[in-house]
Symmetry: C2
Subunit: 191 residues, 2 copies
Amino acid sequence: MGRWEPDARDRLVRAALDLFDEQGYENTAVAQIAERAGLTKSTYFRHFRDKREVLFSGQDELLELVTGGIAGASESAGALGAVEGALVAMAVTFTQDRWANGPRRLAVIAANDELRERDALKMAGFARTMKAGLLERGVPELDADVASELGVLALRRGYAQWLEAGGDFAEVARRALEEVRVAAAGLEGAE
Amino acid sequence: MGRWEPDARDRLVRAALDLFDEQGYENTAVAQIAERAGLTKSTYFRHFRDKREVLFSGQDELLELVTGGIAGASESAGALGAVEGALVAMAVTFTQDRWANGPRRLAVIAANDELRERDALKMAGFARTMKAGLLERGVPELDADVASELGVLALRRGYAQWLEAGGDFAEVARRALEEVRVAAAGLEGAE
DNA sequence: TCAAGTGATGGGACTTGGTCTCATCAACCG
DNA sequence: CGGTTGATGAGACCAAGTCCCATCACTTGA
């Protein structure tokens, strides 16, 4: 059994989420996750590079969408327009069924420092990728920095809103970005 | 020897930075850091909660300055004005002698994923603390989110500029924040 | 002056994350 | 039917991190 059963990766993800949810991240050993999935520790580490990553798989795919979304934005679009292109491009992976476990996943991450750390790194990765794409388009360095940070903020806010209320992710993210843009434009200086 | 020699913590920090610099973070064991500092692994973990943290000590102190700086900003100051208060308040710890190893530290962090991960968490911590302080002042949630993210961006940019060019940190950070503010205000929408 | 107390350290056992290597077994292919 | 491929199992191994207890330097109070 186990051997050659399909979807080893998915089984590991589900087992991990269940166990983290039931008994907490720290009280769960990798060997235990593997066992529940009908696999072994060796196999776990063949699929995920460490204990945290099981909750963050699919990131690479998203980064490619970000890069493509920014590069594919219309010539005339400004920095934020290109960032919007990135958010909209990400929408193809944000489908209801694939993210049914989104809220549980968020709760588990929020409850643990190690996981929040990994989450912060992932977010920084989005920002870095957006910034690189913007620089590629000729956006000045400062503008690229600001636009990518605001883009990640919009992504975070949009994701949370989408998990809560559902709907079309592209639309939700677009609104979140516009919201953030208006707020940023309205901030006054210090003097 | 070693026992009761003063400054155990500082010795550990210096030993760690030296070793990470010489042979890389991954190739350095905690026991080795402790040994170079004339201490043992046990003592190391009494001073730092894990291997990464030795490069990030002093964070709590900075968070307190952030909180104080925001709370202490003048009544009439807006969100960004309060954030500026936080950056200026942090300047007391950014003195040339205490940060002589800043560039080496940055290089070591940039060279390693685990350390960049911790760095991302620390930055997220600054943002969270700033946001909390702004909410405390009655700033709307969205504005607090945007202002704190821009504040952290200004902190990062200002810190890098200060390490490179020196000068008064408060002044450098203030300029960085204003720069970021102007760039954010100038970003156009997507339509 | 000395005995008790305090606080930082040493030391070592132990668990677990993570790496590495080799054996095994199912499926595929000629 | 025999060889190849690719995912898995098994187990040794190292380092991170936890825990507990002994030890020693220094302080305090009688």
